[in-house]
């Protein structure tokens, strides 16, 4: 078996990354010093409707995105331990523990964060955020708006649609009350246009790896997804994704792939293992294996967006994101990704910290293999807490899995 560590790094650097770094630095600079810009800050869940915030001139801050940053910079473990010291269980979501630990200690990649003015919580990603935001609302003594999006096991019911649409209106009223100024429909429409354009660009970028070789690997998408999460609705995100798209299209034209070798194409399911992205990317690239698509970054490429009715369209789109849908939907989605991206197999991260993503994966794996004939691999980890991760074991599993694919598919 080839030792990937001795190989030269076959990963091809994305030039837009420097623009990405500048953009995210500017964003975090504003979030860190909102008073300098005369802005209020709202903490919002990753699946929460951000457009009304930008329309009202509020800066959104994403604790989950920050949790990913803490994970990638390997600061999560000490922050989780600080939260556990306060009495929070080790079994809780490590994004939440990281955020609680950061709030308690004032530590993290950005240091002490300013107190939010209010919180916006949408449970379309999980029920964990309800508890997480409740306790932060108590800790900071700030108002909390809760956007309740009932889970869609099969089809969305008419009364469910009415329920979420009515709540979006209540959300606007909440913002007007907090900010003491009226909501501007005109401004909101502009933000929605920006948001729709950003989502379209992101979708188009994620579609490009259907080409052979794939110009972009999912590990790149995990990094470059930060603007679609945090800056959706702004012109900045549009400019950035236009640039990234141009670069990726250029790669497609020239037949340049994300890695120097592309022999095996894989799909990724679940949140990345933030603290080990670099290592796993290196392992895969050294083996000529590319993650061509994933279920995580595509959660922000909303499929059911009705652009003719921004408010109602947004409510529906947010209620129907990947994590708020039943297992049958997820099985079809991954099977489609395998077919559309010409994948040889799929890798599932059984994520100790994310139950909505991880429950059902074992059945999902069997069903996708039954439907596509492609093998799947399950690896166990946690998105930010490295205490629950055995890297050597996972590397071994991946290498064996790639060997199986090679043996199975003689064309590789």
């Amino acid at each position: 078996m080839e030792d990937f560590k001795s190989n030269e790094n076959p990963y091809r650097k994305i030039n837009s990354t420097s623009a990405y770094r500048r953009l995210m630095m500017a964003y975090y600079f504003m979030v860190k010093h909102p008073n300098w810009f005369g802005k209020k800050v709202a903490w919002i869940t990753s699946g929460g409707p951000v457009e009304p915030l930008y329309a009202m001139g509020v800066l959104p801050f994403y604790p989950e995105n920050y949790g990913a940053m803490c994970g990638a910079s390997r600061m999560s473990v000490s922050l989780c331990e600080a939260a556990e010291h306060k009495g929070y269980s080790h079994d809780l979501c490590s994004y939440a523990l990281t955020d609680i630990g950061s709030s308690l200690t004032g530590r993290g990649p950005l240091g002490k964060l300013p107190k939010p003015d209010f919180l916006i919580c949408g449970n379309n990603i999980c029920g964990t955020v309800i508890k997480w935001y409740e306790l932060q609302a108590r800790a900071f003594d700030v108002p909390l708006f809760f956007f309740d999006t009932p889970f869609i096991h099969e089809e969305m019911q008419d009364h469910t649609l009415r329920y979420v649409q009515n709540q979006i209106k209540a959300y606007i009223a909440f913002l007007e009350k907090q900010l003491r100024r009226p909501f501007s429909e005109k401004r909101f429409e502009q933000v929605c246009l920006n948001s729709f354009e950003t989502i379209t660009l992101w979708k188009e970028i994620l579609d490009l790896p259907r080409h052979h070789p794939a110009p972009l690997a999912a590990f790149d998408a995990f990094i470059h997804m930060a603007p679609i999460v945090t800056l959706r609705g702004t012109r900045w995100a549009i400019y950035y994704y236009r640039k990234l798209k141009r670069e990726m299209e250029e790669r497609v034209k020239r037949g340049v792939g994300a890695f120097a070798r592309e022999e095996i194409r894989l799909i990724w399911d679940n949140i990345p293992i933030w603290y080990d992205i670099r290592n796993l990317s290196k392992l895969l690239s050294s083996q000529g294996a590319v993650l061509v698509a994933d279920t995580y970054t595509s959660a922000w490429a909303m499929d059911d967006l009705d652009q003719t009715q921004p408010l109602n369209g947004l409510a529906k789109a947010y209620a129907m994101i990947h994590l708020n849908r039943g297992l049958e939907y997820k099985i079809k989605k991954i099977a489609n990704l395998v077919e559309q991206y010409g994948a040889h197999g799929f890798v599932m991260h059984s994520n100790r910290s994310c139950k909505p993503y991880s429950l059902g994966q074992l059945d999902l794996k069997r069903e996708v293999t039954r439907l596509t004939g492609k093998p799947g691999l399950m690896i166990e980890a946690d998105h930010t807490d490295s205490r629950s991760y055995a890297p050597k074991q996972v590397e071994k599993q991946i290498q064996l899995f790639l060997d199986i694919i090679r043996t199975k598919d003689k064309a590789i």
């Binding site: 929070y88 979501c93 108590r138 096991h153 009364h159 100790r352 429950l359 074992l362």
Partner: protein, 379 residues
């Protein structure tokens, strides 16, 4: 008949139901019985009963886990794992249907995995709103309850206005009787022991409800009016997601304490609130299930859980609170540090017990409960 013999006979009937495995209980059902399974107090049992079926609650049984690992990750609670294991082992094949109500992420995930097995003919996912304090929640829940009613009518039996009203009355009376038993035990527990009490409560989710109501009536009639004094016992409040298991109440009792009130899943969360009987039944059910608060998966404002618990504990005159949680229950564990702090700042000591499989943990729990009760004991 001697009162003690009569009482023992009644308790025996509760025990025969509550101490059996699922399949054994099912063997006692009549041929025309339609058992419909459910998990949590957010399922309106009244509707199932009004459709002519038996609401049958799955509360987690001791079972050797041998199949479930192929479907669920290890960090699911015992209730979820053991119930799914029971399904996979065929212990639940007698069920004609299963009802899931939206509560936590694990139950939500289980609902889909369960459906894939296709072992139970009928399944309904009731989308209980998570937001209990929004003006938009009542119309949403009402529509969900109506959808549930239509489902039952299509697949189980017609629900007439009078049958639904009758079922609402029956369940309200059961709640009243259970509350009386709670109050009685809080005054003098010795006649109904901890184990017997847990079985009485559990039987109420498994057996024919008319018979259960009769038994509760008889039990209350046979109990002496003046219970023995329990001044020597330390009054405790029990909080958590556990259902009544034989061991907890007897462990507490043996340690020299008595549970005077609880907010556990099969306890006061079921009987705390009545369905209004003088209004449209669907609206009554909507109002009751929306008002039912204490489950941490539901949101009613950031301070609601703390304020409710503090008020209830103070009202109960409990000297301490035992948190009894299933391991891996995120919703409860998120609340725990703030609840603990709020109680202890009011001078109310707390004890956290984290349990994976209730049938395995007795001795560990015993020592911790004894130490806690000794700390609170005035003697």
């Amino acid at each position: 008949m001697d009162k003690k013999i009569a009482l023992a006979k009644m308790l025996k009937e509760f025990e025969t139901i509550a101490s059996k495995g699922y399949r054994e209980i099912a063997s006692t059902f009549s041929k025309d019985c339609i058992p419909i399974g459910f998990f949590c107090p957010y399922v309106p049992e009244e509707l199932i009963h009004a459709a002519g079926a038996l609401p049958f609650r799955l509360m987690g049984t001791p079972i050797k886990m041998s199949h479930v690992q192929a479907h669920l990750p290890p960090n699911c609670c015992h209730l979820v794992k053991s119930s799914f294991e029971s399904l996979l082992q065929g212990e639940l094949d007698f069920l004609k249907g299963i009802i899931f109500s939206h509560t936590c992420d694990t139950m939500q995930g289980l609902a889909d995995i369960w459906a894939l097995q296709k072992r139970i003919p009928l399944q309904f996912n009731l989308m209980m709103p998570s937001h209990l304090d929004s003006e938009f929640s009542p119309p949403f829940l009402k529509a969900e309850i109506e959808r549930f009613k239509s489902f039952l009518e299509s697949h189980v039996g017609k629900i007439s206005l009078s049958s639904l009203k009758g079922s609402i009355q029956l369940f309200n009376r059961i709640r009243e009787k259970q509350r009386e038993i709670y109050n009685y035990r809080a005054k003098g527990h010795q006649i109904i022991s901890g184990i017997a009490f847990a079985r009485i409560m559990r039987a109420g989710y498994l057996m024919d409800r008319e018979r259960y109501h009769e038994l509760l009536n008889d039990l209350l009639n046979w109990l002496p009016e003046e219970p023995e004094s329990n001044d020597h016992l330390v009054p405790l409040y029990l909080a958590g997601n556990m259902t009544h298991s034989d061991s907890y109440f007897s462990l507490i009792e043996e340690a020299g304490a008595v549970v005077v009130q609880d907010d556990i899943c099969s306890g006061s969360r079921f009987f705390r609130l009545m369905v209004p009987e003088d209004t449209n039944p669907i609206e009554g059910l909507t109002g009751r299930y929306l008002a039912s608060y204490m489950c941490p998966t539901k949101y009613k404002g950031a301070l609601a859980h703390i304020e409710t618990l503090l008020r209830e504990v103070q009202h109960s005159n409990a000297k301490g609170v035992i948190f009894l949680f299933y391991k891996y229950c995120e919703s409860h564990f998120f609340d725990y540090p703030d609840l603990k702090q709020a109680l202890e700042s009011q001078g109310i000591p707390t004890l956290l017990l984290e349990v994976e499989d209730p049938s395995y943990s007795t001795e560990q729990l015993k020592i911790r409960i004894q130490a806690f009760v000794e700390m609170l004991s005035p003697f």
